[in-house]
């Protein structure tokens, strides 16, 4: 390849420029992660309500999620196909990049009354694993508070209809809730918009 380039250069009479990239080195996690920004936002801060933010995701959860897409165990419209293009090592490199970005809660409208109801449901059923009102980045889950509401609704549908894997304890609690109670939870997570709440 190098030789080819030299010949071409000699033909057009141009000078050879500085040596280019070395193709064997691993791609940087940052450049890999930049390529996701068209759907997940600059540095993982999504401004589109249907696609989730990834900034501040714990590395373990990020890598396991990408592997679940790759192995076909988690329902997806597109992330399965995306995951086929990468190795576990590359997921680990991207994970490091996203984990280093500050988590910024989405700015979105919410229903305060429903949110209050949701807070009570969360405390009773969900806070044991999604602590501090769902703002804490547990190693095995992403923060769920501050995430986009339309994405959260899709996530609940994935758990309830599309067999997205979840701990037994979550499945038991979630499947006992009514549609209204789940919507109250969505409103509660959407209502937590103070960035300070996420500084752990």
């Amino acid at each position: 390849m190098r030789k080819k380039l030299l010949t071409a250069t000699a033909l057009t009479g141009l000078l050879m420029f500085a040596p280019g990239a070395s193709a064997d080195a691993p791609v940087s996690g940052a450049l890999l992660a930049f390529q996701c920004a068209g759907c997940h936002g600059f540095n993982g801060h999504s401004v589109g309500p249907a696609t989730p933010s990834l900034a501040g995701f714990p590395e373990e959860y990020f890598v396991e999620t990408m592997m679940a897409y790759k192995e076909g165990t988690r329902h997806a419209t597109i992330m399965d196909r995306v995951s086929w293009g990468y190795t576990r090592e590359q997921f680990e490199a991207m994970a490091e990049f996203f984990a280093a970005q500050p988590y910024l809660p989405a700015r979105q409208d919410f229903d305060a009354e429903l949110a209050e109801r949701g807070a009570a449901i969360h405390d009773q059923h969900c806070n044991s694993c999604h602590s501090e009102g769902g703002t804490f980045p547990e190693p095995d889950t992403a923060p769920i508070a501050g995430q986009w509401a339309p994405y959260l609704r899709d996530s609940f549908e994935d758990f309830l209809v599309h067999d997205r894997p979840q701990p037994r304890g979550m499945q038991r609690r979630l499947s006992a809730l009514s549609a209204d109670e789940i919507e109250a939870l969505v409103q509660y997570y959407a209502s937590q918009q103070d960035p300070a709440a996420y500084a752990h």
Binding site: M1, K4, L5, A8, T9, T12, L14, L15, F17, A18, P19, G20, A21, S22, A23, D24, A25, P26, V27, S28, A30, L31, L32, F34, Q35, C36, A37, G38, C39, H40, G41, F42, S46, V47, G48, P49, A50, T51, T77, I78, R81, V82, W84, G85, Y86, P150, D154, E157
Partner: protein, 430 residues
């Protein structure tokens, strides 16, 4: 519309913090580390600017752009379906300027690659250490006999969004029920491979509701097209009998047009229509051609590892203007290549070897407001079977939506398409 008067420009420069250009260095208190100039502030250019600035704030970044506002082509087909208006697809440079990026609204005439400066129509000469060239496409006028820039004012291409999109929309709105809309699709390579076929679906969406006896015929220079199976299944499901595709093998290659008579001529036949939309064959943006950055194909050859031109030094080319490869000419690839070039430029200017590049494409196409299909793929730089440098798909990652997807899946994809738009644009203009 493209050019603003000198006086207006200076007013804008004063008011909006736009850089008045000359003398160049006088605007800075201290000497910048290096100057990166970006020719074309569209999808690729605006994103490249943001990443260069974010990766190394001490680099001075200047965008040279022809128009004061940018209208995205992506989603302009949604306008034809009356799902969006053009205003919602139009973006100014206020946020770009607020990030400390200089924006000069003045078309570049040539890039003097020996003297390392960008020359503009307004007479400015803007020096650079590295230039990123992102002018998008231009048209091969008269490749279809009778279709030139003047003809495009009567028969729109609508392949650069804005007034051209409006012209097409107005003609479709004025058409009688039972009329025929003919779309002429170009040969490869061209901007947005699924675009003509999404356009057919979204015009059909409008016609089905307002002029249900009408028809759409696509005359194609090609024998096959992007996401073909999904498109044809979608057309048949949502618009039965309404959309006809005439491939190259079936005589779909149009050689001549009579715009006054609204008639298309292939080698053996002629076709009349009530509304014509001709998408002509394309090349890299004119400024790239004028600057000696294109080869015989009409596109800009690059070293795929860092997107440096193979024809000039310290020049990187991104987006649609890049030579044809496995990477489609899409908005997502304009963004993807912008990031590869931005990282490489910052590495070069800091005396580092650029690392291995990584490319990514996705594109959503709508069949109805509730039914979207997507293609996605991961690519790398490598060597092909003939030992030539090439872009290669990674594994089996280049794939389209499953054919058997149910309604809820398709509706989700339509919502993801809208969020894709928000995030894609925000990277450059947010």
């Amino acid at each position: 519309m493209a050019n603003i008067s000198r006086r207006k420009f200076i007013q804008m420069a004063g008011a909006g913090g736009l850089l008045a250009g000359f003398p160049y260095a006088a605007s800075w208190g201290s000497q910048p580390k290096a100057r990166v100039v970006i020719v074309g502030g569209g999808t690729g250019g605006a994103i490249a600017a943001r990443y260069v600035k974010a990766l190394d704030p001490s680099i001075d970044v200047t965008i040279v752009e022809a128009n004061p506002r940018y209208t995205t082509c992506f989603m302009s087909n949604w306008v034809l379906a009356e799902m969006r208006d053009l205003d919602s697809l139009t973006h100014g440079y206020e946020n770009v300027i607020a990030r400390g990026i200089n924006v000069i609204i003045d078309p570049a005439t040539t890039i003097d690659t020996e003297g390392q400066k960008v020359l503009t129509q307004g007479g400015q000469s803007i020096p650079y250490d590295r230039v990123i060239v992102a002018p998008g496409i231009d048209f091969q006028w008269d490749a279809i006999e009778g279709y030139d820039a003047a003809a495009a004012e009567i028969v729109p291409h609508a392949w650069k969004a804005g007034p051209q999109t409006e012209l097409l929309q107005n003609q479709i709105r004025a058409m009688d029920d039972g009329g025929v809309v003919a779309i002429v699709a170009p040969p490869n390579p061209f901007r947005c491979p699924p675009g003509p076929y999404e356009r057919a679906a979204l015009i059909a969406y409008y016609l089905r509701r307002h002029k249900p006896k009408s028809k759409i015929v696509i005359y194609d220079a090609k024998d096959a097209f992007s996401k073909q199976g999904l498109f044809q299944a979608g057309w048949a499901r949502h618009y039965p009998g309404m959309i006809e595709w005439v491939g190259g093998f079936a005589g779909g290659k149009i050689e001549r047009v009579d715009v006054a008579a609204r008639t298309l001529y292939s080698e053996f036949d002629d076709f009349e229509a009530d509304v014509l939309n001709i998408i002509p064959p394309q090349t890299a943006g004119r400024v790239a051609i004028n600057s000696g950055l294109t080869d015989a194909s009409g596109w800009c050859p690059v070293d795929f590892r860092d997107l440096q031109s193979t024809l000039a030094r310290n020049v990187h080319v991104i987006g649609d203007a890049m030579v044809s490869s496995a990477l489609p000419k899409s908005g997502y690839i304009a963004a993807s290549t912008a990031k590869v070039a931005a990282v490489a430029v910052v590495d070069h200017l800091n005396g580092r070897e650029p690392g291995t590049p990584a490319f990514f494409n996705t594109c959503y196409s709508l069949l109805t407001p509730q039914h979207s299909i997507s293609v996605s793929g991961v690519y790398e730089a490598g060597t092909n079977a003939e030992g030539q440098p090439a872009i290669l798909p990674v594994g089996n990652s280049v794939a389209v939506s499953p054919a058997g997807a149910d309604d809820s899946f398709q509706a989700r994809e339509a919502r993801y398409a809208a969020s894709w738009y928000d995030n894609l644009v925000d990277q450059g203009f947010g």
